[in-house]
Amino acid sequence: MLGLEDFWIVSAYVLSVASALGCLVYGIICWNKGGEILDIDNGTWEKEEEEVKESL
């Protein structure tokens, strides 16, 4: 396959391409998922961050 004979080499080649495509597909399917930021109590540092931003 692909001019290669060794099973392990062909596997490495195929798995590399497949996993990259897998990443692409995963990203596309989940493109809009997970955008909501979980509601948690604001820790003090987040408040400080806002204060610093405001003072600037």
């Binding site: 060794d6 490495a12 610093v52």
Partner: protein, 590 residues
């Protein structure tokens, strides 16, 4: 230098300067400086992750290794995609981002320190990074300086080194992580374009995918005897597998060192992990995966294919026409001035073997030399020269500058992240923790980090001095291995094992570090030999000489020990306070 080349270089320099300036303009708070404001675009994040990950050693160094050992290196490409992107982003990235946000962590050591409620962990991790990263940084600096020399025609190596260090240092200092990541995105694009053209042209020169692979397979009988003896079975075959005999050394060298060491090591690299904390939500991480996977396929994937295929080019296709200046039969080399060369500095020295063809031109026609050599022989035994020689000889002239910029981009993107990580570890993780009474203002934190960056910068330049350069070569492996053993179990445990305690983390981090260090100093031949402490103390290069211990990567020994220590330490102490766990993981999770 041609007009085309000059234009490309000027555009590149302008873009770099502009993006650094943009980073500076967009940096107002310490969160901007250390974490790019936690609002970076997913494409920028993905390109930055990939570009930082892939340094010149991945392209030239490992590409050359693939040219020697063959396509079994593709397992590293696969691991880099599957583990380095998919697993890392999905299973580590999102929890890191979320926990980092909850705990207000601005650096990787701070994440570990706050999760385990231990200032010691933050300081120790910061110190490991600050003390050992310069070794890795210097290796990249040295490589990058060579490209600066070539691109800008600078004779003095030290000046090239200083130019590179200062230019990169400038935009890191000014722009913080935003400056770094904007430039990473530019550099990532350059790298992508370079690699796409390279693989396309390579398959074209060699007659197509099937034809190229078949030619390489047919070359298997040409593997040199010394490589056959350690298990090399051809560039399109996997090495011989087994234990207890020298003939299995290649399998253990390739699989354990390269594949496991670098493939897994990347997960716990602090400058990589911190990038997960630069995006706003899970959605950005998901989007980044799409680009990240393709990027890693095209970077190492192309290189570990082109490296082995260069053998086909040098053996079957390379023809040099020109004027033979010297035919040294005794030393088996020919010096030929290629057609069109303007002066003798462009003359090529070609190692000659019994299969080489030398045809003297008659009646004014040019002399012809066909090296008919495998890649490692063609470069006179120098692994690092395989890829550059291939590019120079097989690719069209205009590709030369593109590839040089690709390599320079790989170096700069890695360097910038290293400088930044050294700065944050010195400033935030060590200084601010060691002096707890000093509560810096937001502005002061940025200044302290900048001082840390400058110290790291100076240390790296200092280490690049000539007498120390031999030790630098082994440093990349050292740093990756140290990080993996010291940080990976604690990192994974921090994100997933609520029962993991401060003691478990400390034992794992310190223990992993020590075991890794001892193995590298006394057992692993590449580092033990390079550093020489074992030889000095015991008169032997490594303490265990029976095959195949000296080629077993330290990570195989130190990582399991580090994991065991994490488990034992955690089970020996009482579980962490449930209120703290809720703070780390959030109320909604079980």
């Amino acid at each position: 230098m041609g007009v085309f080349e000059a234009i490309i270089i000027i555009l590149y320099i302008f873009a770099t300067g502009y993006l650094g300036y943009l980073g500076y303009r967009h940096t107002k708070t310490s969160t901007d400086y250390m974490l790019a404001g936690r609002e970076i675009h997913p494409m920028v994040m993905a390109l930055s992750y990939g570009a930082t990950f892939i340094s010149t050693s991945a392209i030239v160094g490992f590409g050359g290794v693939a040219g020697v050992y063959g396509m079994s290196l593709l397992w590293l490409a696969f691991l880099n995609i599957f583990v380095g992107i998919l697993i890392a982003f999905v299973f580590l990235g999102e929890p890191t981002r979320e926990m980092g946000r909850r705990l207000g962590a601005h650096t990787f050591p701070e994440l570990l320190g706050k999760r385990f409620q231990s200032r010691f962990i933050q300081i120790f991790a910061g110190a490991v990074i600050f003390l050992f990263m310069p070794l890795y940084t210097t290796a990249v600096l040295l490589g990058g300086a060579e490209f600066v020399q070539t691109i800008f025609h600078i004779d003095n190596f030290t000046i090239s080194l200083l130019i590179l260090a200062l230019v990169v240092g400038a935009y890191v200092l000014a722009g913080g992580l935003k400056g770094v990541m904007y430039n990473d995105a530019l550099q990532g694009c350059v790298m992508l374009v370079g690699m796409l053209i390279l693989i396309f042209l390579t398959y074209r020169v060699l007659g197509g995918i099937n034809e190229a692979h078949k030619s390489l397979t047919d070359m298997a009988p040409l593997v040199p005897d010394n490589l056959k003896a350690i298990g090399h079975q051809g560039w399109t075959s996997s090495p011989k597998f087994g234990w207890g005999d020298k003939s299995y050394n290649m399998w253990w060298a390739v699989i354990s060192t390269i594949v496991l060491g670098v493939g897994i090591g990347v997960l716990a690299q602090p400058q990589m992990a911190v990038r997960f904390m630069t995006v706003k939500s899970r959605r950005e991480i998901n989007r980044a995966i799409a680009i990240g996977g393709l990027f890693i396929l095209l970077l190492p994937g192309v290189v570990y294919t082109v490296g082995p295929l260069s053998n086909v080019f040098f053996y079957e296709k390379e023809v040099i026409q020109g004027k033979i200046l010297l035919n040294d039969e005794e030393n088996k080399k020919v010096v030929i001035l290629p057609e069109g060369a303007t002066d003798e500095s462009f003359a090529l020295t070609i190692p000659i073997n019994p299969k080489s063809e030398i045809i003297l031109g008659e009646n004014g026609s040019p002399d012809i030399v066909r090296p008919r050599a495998i890649a490692i022989a063609r470069t006179g035994g120098r692994v690092d020269k395989i890829i550059p020689t291939y590019i120079d000889r097989a690719m069209p002239r205009w590709f030369g500058i593109i590839f040089l910029l690709t390599l320079l981009s790989a170096a700069i993107s890695t360097l910038s992240s290293q400088f930044h990580a050294m700065g944050t570890s010195a400033g935030r993780d060590i200084f601010e923790q060691v002096a707890p009474r000093y509560k810096p203002t937001d502005r002061a934190t940025i200044s302290i980090t900048r001082i840390g960056i400058m110290i790291g910068l100076v240390a790296s330049i200092f280490l690049a001095a000539k007498p120390l350069r031999d030790y630098i070569a082994v440093s990349t492996a050292l740093f990756f291995g140290l990080c993996a053993s010291a940080f990976l179990p604690a990192f994974v445990g921090a994100l997933f094992w609520k029962r993991m305690t401060k003691l478990g983390a400390i034992l794992s981090i310190v223990g992993g570090f020590i075991v890794s260090g001892i193995w590298m100093l006394f057992f692993y031949s590449k580092t033990a030999g390079g550093i020489g402490l074992c030889m000095m103390l015991t008169g032997k290069t490594t303490l265990l000489t029976s095959p195949n211990w000296p080629v077993v990567d330290p990570i195989i020994v130190s990582l399991p020990i580090s994991i065991i220590l994490a488990i034992i330490g955690s089970l020996l102490t009482k579980p962490p306070d449930s209120k703290h766990i809720k703070e780390c993981f959030g109320k909604n999770k079980k």
